[in-house]
């Protein structure tokens, strides 16, 4: 069951990713991008990290995808005009993939199957966030605030 599920999710994710990277229409690419994140969340569910999966959907589909779509809309005059494809990028990407794949296949210690695991509960994550990771949490809070303000300032109308 889970091998089948894994294969299905992997195919869905990679296909969506490829679509997001190559589709001509920007809007379609953005929507494929959202689908890809559903696939990644499914991976997370499969791997026992429910919370991360939900957060992933929440953040990426609820926020980032909408943001991207908005940006496309705000730069729409350009969205249909800017086309074209840089084939040298394909070569680089394929080369990187080949290198990574070779490195992974060469490493013997990676061909292991997972053991049984207690799924990590939300409560445990909350406890960790409030104890061991409280400083990173605060830093991320500051970062998000700064990003919010920074983004607002960036998109403010330029005074001419």
């Amino acid at each position: 069951m889970s091998t089948v599920a894994f294969a299905a999710i992997a195919i869905l994710t990679l296909a969506a990713a490829l679509a997001a990277a190559t589709l001509q229409k920007l809007m379609h690419a953005a929507l494929s991008f959202a689908v890809m994140f559903v696939g990644i969340s499914a991976f997370f569910f499969l791997l026992g990290a429910e919370f991360i999966g939900l957060v992933q959907i929440f953040v990426y589909i609820g926020a980032v995808a909408v943001l991207i779509v908005f940006t496309i809309l705000l730069t729409r005059h350009d969205a249909e005009k800017v086309r074209g494809f840089n084939w040298s990028g394909v070569i680089v990407a394929v080369a990187v993939f080949a290198g990574l794949g070779w490195a992974i296949s060469k490493t013997k210690s990676l061909s292991i199957v997972p053991q049984q695991i207690q799924p990590v509960t939300v409560q445990r994550i909350g406890e960790l966030l409030m104890t061991n990771y409280v400083w990173p949490l605060l830093c991320v809070g500051v970062l998000l605030t700064v990003a919010l303000i920074g983004a607002l300032i960036l998109v403010m109308e330029e005074k001419s």
């Binding site: 680089v92 080369a95 990187v96 290198g99």
Partner: protein, 657 residues
């Protein structure tokens, strides 16, 4: 309430600092509010200081310590803390009370200044930093506040930044103090290296407690001297005293705050605070480091008193008298009279603030004229200022029985006389006492008696917002003597932690006759010499060379100009020369070599391989184009290069592992 303040003693400096931030936030327009916040902040600090003072009365040798960890790096933790003991409590009350008087005085004195609120922000900031110095229980925390005090004094001395002399004075003060602070900092580092802690008191583990002191050993002398460097800089001791008289460029309340009550006292306070380090390895109460302290104090005290005799600027006379008095305190600390030194410090805080504010009142009344030769006959015009000023003058001169300065000076002389190593400091100090009486009499005669001169024609008494602090301080200067008398050594016992007893027989001691005679002699000589002086100085007429020597502050500034500063200038010029000729020459030489080769190549190019030139340029051009295309300014190109670099890294790791 009591225990509440002893555990939260940090609130005392926090109040003025908060006020300072608030005033700065309010901005320039909020003049009235700014002053109100500053005064309220100081009032809160005073109230809390008094609350903090109360529990230290209940038990003798009271000490409350609050330590906490500031940060941890590796195995080491840096801990800082606050301490409340009689020394700190007495200083807190004195600083906040005198500070409050000065704040209120400033409301009147600075009323017309355009940067009124900024002034109060600085004042509050200064006051908070100074209160912080007093309650710090760690050398590093003390150093932080110490530097904040330095910064605040820089800002305040240079408050009238548009005057070049004020800016120069501020810079001078800052740099001179930095020289001392460099030594102080080295001392801190050395102390930390030896004892591993910078806390003063830490339940027996602090650097001033037995365990800490034992680890110091022979290096204690050097550590003590290095720390003393900081005190020398801040307290204006010889040879770093030069900034203090120049700092009179600041507004008069600033002079009062910095040079009377608080900042210059910080040096004395510092020595008293780390006194156990000075005492390590003491034989009969004498150590090499303390001997240095004594002689520095003696030299400073005498030299400043001599210079003060020949000054004409009303504030400069007071400044030199401050330097002289600080020398006296240092002597007291050096010979073992810690309590006497601190008592004199507290008493001096009151009467010197009184004198400075009185001088401020005079300057205000004389329309910002500071030359005493142009004043005169003010005693009728400014009765309140005159009477309070006279009280301050008598306290400073050391008139016994009624004035606080008299008793404390007596204590110091007493302690100095008993110093086992030499009697010389005692005799020199007596000369200093005599000179003090002389120059104060001179000043008061010039300013308040005789005929009215240019500046005093239209003088007027200051408003009550300025005279009220004067009266308060004058009352303090007199009443303070009650707790200082030898018959009832309440303050001394409070500071040293013994119960006080009342013994009227000790009221009159033989040594008091000596100082009474000296003060009387000084004052009489002053009256005799200056009574007919009308705008000129009799010494100047009799001994012009000596007078010029003193008037020009013994040419110490000039000596510094010729030596230290000249040396720095030479070093700078040398560096400039090195840069200009040696390094530049090297570069030019390399350039010339390159040039030579270039010429060679060009010749070869032109003459030898003229045929291959076309081919070569085409190739070079092509390569340049290729490289230039790599640097296309396009993000994707860079990203691709990044990815390839990462790929190379991955392959390298996979290949190695």
């Amino acid at each position: 309430m009591n225990s509440w303040i002893t555990t939260n003693v940090w609130l005392i400096p926090a109040a003025p600092i908060l006020a300072a931030l608030l005033i700065l936030a309010l901005g320039k327009a909020a003049r009235r509010q700014g002053a109100a916040y500053a005064v309220i902040g100081q009032l809160v600090a005073l109230t809390m200081s008094i609350f903090a003072f109360v529990p230290t009365l209940h038990s003798h040798g009271f000490r409350s310590v609050q330590n906490f960890t500031w940060f941890t790096f590796g195995e080491q933790t840096l801990r800082i803390g606050f301490v409340l003991d009689p020394l700190a409590a007495a200083m807190l009350v004195m600083i906040s009370l005198v500070g409050l008087c000065i704040f209120i005085f400033s409301v009147g004195y600075m009323a017309e200044d355009k940067n009124f609120s900024r002034f109060f922000a600085y004042l509050s900031f200064f006051s908070g930093a100074m209160l912080g110095v007093v309650i710090a229980n760690s050398l590093v925390l003390l150093f932080v506040f110490w530097e904040l005090v330095g910064l605040a004094s820089y800002l305040l001395i240079g408050f009238w930044i548009e005057r070049p002399s004020a800016a120069a004075a501020a810079k001078k003060a800052f740099i001179t103090m930095r020289i001392g602070d460099m030594g102080f900092f080295l001392g801190i580092l050395w102390l930390y290296h030896r004892s591993g802690t910078l806390l003063f008191y830490d339940g027996g583990q602090g650097c001033l407690e037995n365990v800490g002191l034992l680890t110091l050993g022979a290096s204690a002398t050097f550590i003590a001297l290095l720390i003393f460097c900081g005190a020398v800089g801040k307290s204006g001791q010889f040879p770093l005293h030069v900034w203090l008289p120049d700092a009179m460029e600041g507004p008069t309340p600033v002079s009062a705050l910095i040079h009377a009550a608080t900042m210059v006292a910080a040096g004395v306070f510092l020595v008293a605070r780390v006194y156990p380090i000075f005492l390590v390895g003491a034989i009969n109460g004498v150590t090499p480091s303390l001997t240095v302290v004594v002689w520095i104090g003696v030299v400073t005290g005498l030299m400043a008193a001599l210079i003060a005799v020949a000054q004409f600027d009303i504030k400069r006379i007071l400044a030199y008298s401050t330097v002289s008095q600080l020398g006296l305190m240092m002597v007291s600390l050096g010979v073992g009279g810690v309590a006497a030194g601190i008592m004199h410090l507290l008493a001096h805080g009151f009467f010197k603030a009184l004198l400075f504010l009185g001088a401020g009142s005079v300057i205000h009344g004389c329309h910002h004229e500071q030359d005493i030769r142009k004043m005169g006959g003010l005693c009728r015009l400014m009765p309140v200022t005159f009477s309070t000023y006279a009280i301050g003058m008598m306290a400073l001169s050391g008139v016994p029985f009624f004035f606080s300065g008299g008793w404390t000076k007596e204590e110091i002389l007493h302690a100095t006389a008993q110093w086992p190593r030499s009697h010389m400091p005692y005799y020199l100090m007596l000369v200093g006492v005599f000179l003090t009486a002389l120059y104060m009499t001179r000043q008061i005669i010039f300013v308040f008696f005789g005929n009215r001169r240019a500046a005093s024609e239209h003088a007027h008494e200051s408003p009550s917002v300025m005279t009220l602090p004067l009266i308060v301080l004058a009352v303090c200067a007199i009443l303070f003597s009650v707790v200082l008398t030898p018959a009832w050594r309440w303050l001394e016992n409070y500071l040293t932690g013994h119960p006080a007893r009342f013994d009227p027989h000790l009221l009159i001691q033989p040594m008091i006759i000596v100082s009474l005679a000296l003060v009387g002699a000084g004052a009489s000589l002053g009256i005799w010499m200056y009574r007919r002086a009308a705008g000129s100085d009799p010494i100047q007429q009799v001994q012009p060379a000596l007078f010029r020597f003193l008037e020009n502050k013994m040419w110490i500034d000039e000596i510094y100009d010729r030596t230290v500063i000249a040396l720095a200038a030479i070093a700078a010029r040398f560096s400039d020369w090195m840069d200009r000729y040696v390094w530049d020459g090297l570069v030019r030489g390399v350039g010339a070599i390159g040039h030579f080769f270039a010429r060679l190549t060009s010749d070869a190019d032109e003459r030898v391989i003229n045929a291959g030139v076309d081919e070569g340029t085409v190739g070079a051009h092509g390569f340049g184009r290729l490289m230039s295309r790599r640097h296309s300014g396009q993000i994707q190109t860079y990203l691709g290069a990044l990815a390839l670099g990462m790929l190379a890294l991955v392959l390298l790791y996979a290949w190695l592992g």
